[in-house]
């Protein structure tokens, strides 16, 4: 059934139940979702029993993207997640759990929170003025309640607060305005120790302030060591957790000596580290009941080793107990305690070994059985269980590998692995699977020869293709069955090839940790390949300046900001093959963005320097191209390129007190089905379809309440085509714009006034503007029927400047939205949807363009002609309808960007969202009008046909007999 657009528009309004983003049977069929946490951090990951009497423990982590979550260690499934900061973070944060407590304490930025360990519900959330520097749980308190110690750095002063574990109330507060750098906090049974750095950068002394746990009164202050022997705060390795004898350990900056002191003592002991040590880690138990033993893990460039030390509780003397053998290759250690017993687990690339802390005898040893070639664990946590009645042990370790995966190894077997490296994605693009090179060549050859030859060639080619016929025929029954029963053909033996509908595309994803992933959008987002492109030092991130996909060759080029370039080549064939070539990074960041310029040999990416100058220009660049680059923070420049040279052709400078917050351009593939809009009276309003336009959203902070100014620029001449101002806008909330066809839309948080003028409210708003050639119908504006136009062309009269006529309308949104993107289809016939992420609802919504229509009649019902056009009465509020949420019941967190790509079928647009979670789906804004949905019941159809056939076969002899009898029967 193909309804005329106006009728379907009416249907849309009349039948809200029909407007559904996803049908139930499509869930998991058209969409896919990676529910991710991010890479677990070493300090904030542990096994913990959520209930005191329960035997089963869960795996908790606060990841490097700011997600706190609980994972079932036996299946790897996420039990609950919380995004602490509301958005993606760069690591940091604290997570602690009190032994036997059913809650977790976490801290990030300026807030301290507690969560129910079983279901992840928030217990309390306290915001403070300073930044949290450390967090500890007090194991022993006077009233049998475990409290939280939080160390803050508030304007150069150190503040330690003891918060009640029940409700987050401040029990006592200790403040010190000495100007020392607060570092960590630790506690033993009756004392609290605040460790801070005294002195100046490069020559610090460790200062330990001892406080009374009950009252928070200062009891003593110690300065460890006489000379300033702490070079940097990273040299302090461990301030030892809640053991019976907490220690503090630090090294010199050349990593030659380890200095350890038991907290509360003035003495310190020095131990020599193995030669060539590059980094040191200390693993100590976190429970008071455990023996005060700790392990020093020293890494060299070739291998690693470990030493175990014991602390004598009475004399506070630290002695070396034993040393583990040096092993070449990487390795990870983890601690597990069971009552007083402390176990150390060592994961090397070959085996998993557990030791007791008392002696170096091996308690258990399991070779690693992995499917992958080599497993490199970076750090991990483990849980050792002694099997009842026997001398054997079982161990499970959750480890982070060098390929950004989180795996669980149980007795040497990899039980599950989570692709946590997909989080923190910075760029992604859809790319077509390249057709086999031969076919592409042949098609090109056919296109260039004369029709007769081409025809003969084609017939020959098709005859040759007959050799594949038997295989094809052989596959028909399976395909038929899978088509009827709705099952899917397993993709293991199917080669990587395009499908008829164009759903089978690949997504190349680059993450900030320097990994490249290739996902198969046609097969539930399966990870086809992952590769580490760059080994980035901690703290450094891979920033991508530009990404470009060449659909015909299957080559994705990624330009980074550090002079690096990565090429991902997808080769067609029976077993997919992905090549990654990369160079760089080198030097300091030198690239701000990348310009996709047309050259003789097709479009190519050129880096744009920080000063806005294009680099590496060649002479084969096609003429008449202008690249729009950022100058300073409030400046846009148009750079004209000719003969490999560049000249600044225009500069757009914002007025004083204005700064750019977002820029949107039309997507590169922006098919326009019709150049005009047919009105109800069958006149035409011509769309202003200038591809060289740009929307610049700027915040004007010249007044007390900032306002938002939206400019529409012509990017060839730099001229302002239109501008609008929205007052009372909050610049700290999402201000984003999107542009497509002849319209653009921006969302912001701002002030609005009710119609009676009495009340002024604030709310999330979306403004949408349509651009037309003129405001009169049947008029193509000053350019008339000209076949082409130039923004630089001379004009005869002042009124002859082809400026668009803008129609705008603003709507109030019921929820904030971000990451705006417009759906794209092949021909642009299908109506569009504005896709946006809902940061508070954790979903992706599709707002139909029909709702975001600036020409909706205000304050009156639409006339018959307007109704025929599909215009509905303006209503200022747009409710986020749960039925229009494409992610339906899925909890998609931290989406930073949404990308859309057209499929071969016109109705459908492929959508991919990345950030923390990865989500992909297919969106059909005008419903699936060109293919059968999954709800089409083929079984019933075939059953009906079969039943009718059977009926005919049974009935036809009967009828024939009756007819003959009737002919022969005597007339009565």
């Amino acid at each position: 059934m193909h309804l005329p657009t106006q009728l379907s528009a009416l249907l849309l309004v009349a039948l809200p139940s029909a407007v559904r983003a996803v049908f139930q049977d499509e869930v998991g069929h058209i969409d896919y979702h990676y529910e991710l946490l991010g890479l677990p951090q070493r300090e904030t990951t542990f096994f913990h029993k959520p209930r005191r009497d329960d035997k089963a423990s869960l795996l908790y982590t606060l990841s490097d993207v700011g997600v706190l979550g609980a994972v079932n260690p036996s299946s790897g499934a996420i039990l609950w997640r919380q995004l602490l900061n509301g958005t993606i973070t760069d690591g940091g944060g604290f997570l602690r759990a009190g032994e036997g407590q059913n809650w977790l304490a976490s801290a990030y930025g300026q807030s301290v929170h507690a969560w129910d360990a079983v279901n992840g519900r928030n217990k309390f959330w306290m915001d403070f003025a300073g930044e949290v520097k450390d967090l500890e749980v007090m194991e022993m308190t006077e009233n049998n309640r475990k409290d939280i110690l939080a160390l803050f750095d508030e304007n150069e002063s150190t503040v330690l607060r003891r918060l009640s574990g029940n409700d987050g109330r401040v029990v006592w507060e200790y403040m010190e305005t000495s100007g020392d750098v607060p570092l960590q906090v630790s506690t033993n049974v009756e004392k609290v120790f605040v460790i801070s750095l005294r002195g100046s950068a490069g020559a610090y002394n460790l200062k330990v302030t001892i406080l009374d746990a009950l009252s928070g009164k200062r009891e003593d202050e110690l300065v460890l060591g006489t000379k300033a022997d702490v070079h940097d705060k990273d040299d302090v390795i461990l301030v030892g957790a809640n053991s019976a004898a907490p220690i503090i350990a630090w090294t010199d900056d050349t990593r030659q000596q380890l200095r350890v002191s038991v907290l509360g003592q003035k003495t310190r002991q020095e131990f020599a580290l193995p030669a060539d040590t590059i980094s040191v880690e200390i693993h100590a138990p976190h429970i008071v009941q455990s023996q005060p033993h700790f392990l020093v893990h020293s890494k060299t460039s070739t291998g690693h080793t470990a030493e175990v030390y014991h602390v004598n509780l009475r004399t506070n003397v630290i002695t070396k107990a034993y040393q583990l053998p040096f092993t070449s290759g990487p390795g990870a250690f983890s601690t597990s305690s069971n009552g007083a017993n402390v176990y150390f687990t060592r994961i090397t690339d070959e085996e998993l070994v557990i030791f007791s802390s008392t002696s170096d005898t091996v308690l258990g040893r399991w070779p690693l059985k992995t499917t992958e070639s080599r497993l490199v664990a970076l750090h991990g946590v483990s849980e050792v269980v002694k099997k009842a009645g026997t001398d054997s042990y079982a161990v499970r370790s959750a480890a982070v590998t060098d390929t950004d995966e989180w795996i669980l190894i149980r007795n040497g077997d990899v039980v599950w692995s989570r692709p946590e490296g997909l989080t923190g994605a910075v760029a992604a693009t859809f790319v077509e699977i390249p057709e086999s090179e031969n076919l592409a060549k042949t098609l090109e050859q056919e296109a260039h020869s004369n029709p007769l030859e081409a025809y003969i060639h084609r017939v020959k080619r098709h005859l040759e293709d007959l050799q594949y016929l038997p295989t094809y025929l052989k596959n028909i029954p399976t395909r038929l069955m899978s088509s009827i029963l709705g099952t899917e053909v397993s993709s293991h033996d199917v080669k990587l090839a395009r499908d008829t509908f164009g759903f089978h595309k690949l997504v190349v994803l680059a993450t900030r940790r320097g990994m490249i992933y290739v996902l198969d959008a046609g097969d539930h987002g399966k990870i086809l390949a992952s590769k580490r492109v760059f080994d980035l030092p901690t703290g450094q991130k891979w920033a991508v300046a530009g990404i470009k996909a060449d659909d015909s060759t299957g080559i994705v080029t990624i330009l980074g900001t550090n002079n690096d370039e990565t090429t991902v080549k997808i080769l067609p064939g029976t077993s997919f093959n992905i090549e990654v070539l990369s160079k760089g990074p080198e030097g300091s960041p030198a690239t701000q963005s990348a310009a996709l310029l047309n050259t003789v040999s097709g479009p190519r990416l050129f880096p744009v320097g920080l000063d806005g100058e294009l680099q590496g220009l060649t002479s084969d660049i096609l003429p008449n191209q202008v690249a729009v680059v950022r100058g300073s923070d409030k400046e846009l420049k148009g750079v004209a390129i000719a003969d490999g040279k560049q000249t600044v052709s225009w500069t757009f400078v914002l007025p004083k007190f204005q700064r750019i917050v977002d820029i949107a351009a039309r997507p590169p593939h922006d098919a326009v089905a019709s150049i005009g809009r047919v009105l109800g009276d069958r006149t035409v309003k011509y769309k202003y379809l200038n591809p060289n336009t740009l929307v610049v959203a700027a915040v004007d902070e010249s007044t007390k309440i900032p306002s938002l100014v939206i400019y529409l620029l012509d990017t060839v001449s730099g001229q302002i085509l239109a501008s609008s101002k929205h007052e009372g806008v909050d610049p700290n909330k999402h201000i984003e714009c999107a542009m497509a066809e002849n319209w653009f839309t921006c969302t912001y948080f701002g002030q609005y006034r009710l119609r009676d003028g009495a009340q002024s409210l604030k709310g999330y708003q979306i403004v949408v503007s349509d651009l037309y050639e003129t405001d009169k119908p049947n008029d193509r504006g000053v350019l008339g029927d000209a076949e082409n136009f130039s923004s630089l062309g001379p004009i005869d009269a002042p009124g002859d400047v082809p400026l668009p006529s803008v129609v705008s309308q603003t709507f109030i949104l019921s929820a904030p939205i971000s990451a705006l993107e417009v759906t794209q289809t092949r021909q642009g016939i299908t109506s569009r949807q504005v896709l946006a992420y809902l940061p508070e609802n954790h979903g992706i919504v599709g707002i139909p363009r029909m709702v975001l229509e600036p020409r909706r009649p205000v304050g009156r019902d639409p006339t018959a002609a307007e109704a025929e056009e599909g215009l509905i009465k303006y209503h200022p509020a747009i409710e986020i309808d749960p039925k229009s949420v494409h992610t339906h019941e899925r909890d998609v967190i931290g989406v930073q960007k949404i990308i859309a790509a057209p499929a071969v079928v016109e109705s459908t647009s492929l959508v991919f969202a990345y950030g923390i979670d990865v989500f992909g789906s297919r969106v059909a804004p005008s419903f699936l009008f060109d293919i059968l949905g999954k709800g089409f019941n083929k079984v019933t159809l075939i059953g009906t046909v079969l039943a009718i056939t059977a009926g005919v076969m049974i009935l036809s002899p009967m009828v024939r007999r009756k007819q003959i009898n009737a002919l022969w029967g005597a007339p009565m």
């Binding site: 294009l614 729009v628 047919v678 379809l689 990017t715 136009f789 923004s791």
Partner: protein, 190 residues
């Protein structure tokens, strides 16, 4: 019982019935014969001649005949016009949406006049004589005019249904978009 005897009369009953029809039953005198069917008429052909002779039909003169034929021809020529008001009302009633009823109406509105136009000569063949050829031509012209009028009603109908490409929007698909001479590339950070 006696033995079976061969059938005395070999002819079947229906043959007998056919040969000897049942005797004519005289009808009661109270029921009059239907007009033109006197019960005596069938008795013999001689009576029929009497009737024709009793009411002799006067043959009209050729001029009168022509006049009559012309009158008849005018009637035929104006017949389509008589249908027009009805057609108009029906078309108005059927609305401008595309439904099976209005589609059939429009189809008929075109089919009838066109068929009528094509069979103009046949329609007036029987009225045409050597003497009235001139005036018949006028009639034919009137007939054609009427059919064209009916056709015009059909055209009006499809126009009001929006099927005639008379507006700008109907030619929109053939209008091309203006191509820019320059090409600008936004090179802005992701």
């Amino acid at each position: 019982m006696t033995d079976l005897k061969p059938v005395a009369d070999p002819a079947p009953r229906w043959v007998t019935d056919l040969a000897n029809p049942p005797p004519y039953k005289s009808k009661p005198a109270s029921i009059p014969d239907p007009p033109g069917y006197s019960s005596q008429a069938v008795s013999g052909p001689s009576k029929k001649k009497d009737v024709s002779r009793a009411a002799p039909r006067e043959q009209p003169s050729p001029e009168k005949m022509d006049q009559l034929k012309l009158k008849k021809a005018w009637e035929v020529a104006l017949a389509p016009a008589k249908n027009l008001p009805m057609t108009l009302i029906m078309m108005y009633m059927s609305g401008n949406s595309l439904q099976i009823f209005s589609i059939m109406m429009v189809f008929m509105a075109f089919k009838n006049p066109i068929m009528g136009l094509l069979s103009t000569n046949q329609a007036f063949e029987r009225f045409e004589t050597d003497s009235n050829r001139g005036s018949i031509l006028q009639v034919k012209a009137a007939y054609v005019l009427m059919q064209v009028l009916a056709l015009a009603v059909g055209v009006w109908k499809i126009n009001s249904m929006g099927l005639l490409p008379t507006t700008r929007s109907d030619w929109l698909a053939w209008e091309v978009r203006r191509e820019p001479l320059e090409h600008a590339v936004p090179a802005l950070s992701l």
